[in-house]
Symmetry: C2
Subunit: 334 residues, 2 copies
DNA sequence: CTGAAAGCGCTTACAG
DNA sequence: CTGAAAGCGCTTACAG
């Protein structure tokens, strides 16, 4: 018991087998040049003593930690947790573990504090649900660590990104609302300066423009920047009958608040979200929402990261993989 | 740019300041004994050169990686992702990062393969949503790494656990179904040999026993072990009118399947789940479910882990913190 | 209060 | 094909 506790190192295997530490390491890492006999001796000794490599030591010397950092806002939104689940499992299959880093809701950006924590862990790659702060772009690039922006457009930063065509998503949502006869539309975003949020808004504006209408700035809201009750007040007062929300969770919060004011979604007004989280949890189709096809989307993100990690150094600094979303109809629109 | 790329080490700071590596390290780690003057010189140099510590190197030498491993099935179930979010943020506040390890649905247990990956990372602590496989209990204990079982009862293994009183949860759900007039009850679990699953079943059996009834083995199902369509067939054939599910996601899948057979939850039968995931996403109350109060529950889990990490070595090998759940009524019961 | 040395457990050149 | 040495970047005793 106390013997089990003391950790087994390469040196123990070397002593046990009468080989050098070097040779043992070579066998375990399947480097060329060792005999079948040596291989068997090493493997037997490792099994007997219960050897487990120390990845910290290995990473320190080799320069590769077999680690990917994942940067996110929170895991509460199933869009993040669902895709993170798929992505991290793909990484595990390739021998990478994921270290999680949250910006702790400080801002929607990757800032210096966050990057400092990340880089202290010396990850081989970084997959970020967050956009880099403007003044961090060069810093990140200079770090030399492969950086994939997932779910956001990386091209404005000259970075690799896997994203959805968000303008398109906003447009099909807007077109659908209009086609169902909703006339006074509003947009409820998260932060006014996050591109993905603005792109969805832009799509809605395009849909309105097609019909010769436009989105009033008065009816353009950002839940992270204004009092929620004010937003609801304004919507009720101005007789808004169609709402596009930045994501499903915001939509559900709005639905709840409007229900308290006696307005029922699908009946008194139409509302559309993004992400189709209800499907991830196998829930009934409560709301109409824009779905990017999260499983394939996540797989694509993992694939791009893995290809960067496998180091085909063909320097594609601004590679972009853009996915088309589709509308899923639920009970929140007539 | 290429200058930025080469990494800055303690030695660079030492050279820049004319101090020894040792002294620089001591200042950065706030060890006693250095002058204000030295401190300022070091901090200035670190800032100027953009020094970021290498936690791998630091961990290798000091024995503490400031890392907690989180072991889980998947992040798709919001119970996992929601609590993981809260827990990991608490850890971050204390300077710990989380490394994620999934059993990749191999089994509901922590097995040797999983522990091998975990231990290669030398975490300071392990928080597990999974129970240990029977033959892993001693191995885990001997590892000397603080291990907290979260959401499962650790006491049968003599381990630290933060859990809910699952029998109680099953019982209040069963009592509620009976009080609403449902008479032919069924239980739909996940795995037959996972304690938390059996405890919920046991609670249901207790509720039935109170009324002189009992749960038929024929109406006790495990979705991970039998064909789902068979379960549904049996429920329809035998006129089951009340169902307790191991969790909300299973409940939603059942609701969908029964809807296809023309049966509507809340009208034709009652169904109760566990976890109240709908609330985590701010969705309307679709189903009746047993809620443990996930936020407090997660905080408690984090707290227990942190107290073990802060190393108050008072050896409490089988510490158990058990939470009481409550019923949340939704539209899936009359 | 500060420094020189040793060493954490590996992998990487380099010899043989 | 195998081994002895060096070193990744830190922190920990130990001297002074």
């Amino acid at each position: 018991m106390s013997e089990n506790k003391k950790k087994v190192t390469l040196r123990d295997i070397a002593e046990k087998t009468g080989l050098s530490v070097n040779t043992v390491s070579r066998v375990l890492n399947k480097k060329p040049y060792y005999t079948k006999e040596v291989e068997e001796k090493v493997n037997a000794a490792c099994k007997e003593l219960g050897y487990i490599v120390d990845m910290n030591a290995s990473g320190l010397r080799s320069g590769s930690t077999r680690t990917v950092a994942i940067l996110y806002d929170d895991l509460i939104n199933p869009f993040y947790s669902y895709t993170t689940d798929i992505i991290s499992k793909r990484f595990e299959e390739h021998g990478y573990n994921c270290i999680m880093f949250s910006n702790n809701d400080r801002s929607p950006y990757v800032d210096y504090d966050l990057m400092r924590s990340v880089m202290a862990r010396k990850p081989d790659g970084i997959l970020s649900f967050l956009e880099p702060a403007a003044d961090m772009v060069d810093f990140i690039k200079n770090s030399g660590i492969p950086f994939v922006i997932f779910g956001r457009d990386g091209s404005p930063y000259g970075m690799v990104g896997v994203d959805a065509d968000e303008v398109y998503g906003g447009r099909i949502a807007g077109e659908y609302l209009l086609s169902r006869g909703y006339r006074k539309l509003a947009y409820i975003g998260s932060w006014h300066d996050v591109k993905v949020c603005l792109d969805r808004q832009k799509g809605l504006e395009q849909a309105l423009a097609e019909e010769g209408m436009s989105l009033s700035p008065e009816h353009t809201f950002y839940v992270r920047e204004q009092a929620f009750s004010e937003i609801i007040d304004k919507i009720v007062q101005d007789g808004i009958d169609g709402i596009l929300c930045f994501n499903d969770i915001i939509a559900f919060i709005v639905i709840e608040a409007l229900e308290e004011r006696g307005m029922t979604d699908g009946l008194d007004y139409g509302i559309v979200g993004f992400d189709n989280i209800q499907q991830m949890m196998r829930m009934p189709r409560l709301i109409t929402t824009v779905d990017v096809g999260s499983r394939d989307f996540a797989e694509a993100g993992a694939e791009v990261m893995l290809s960067l990690l496998s180091g085909s150094e063909e320097e594609r600094p601004s590679f972009r993989d853009t996915h088309k979303s589709f509308l899923v109809k639920g009970k929140s629109t007539r």
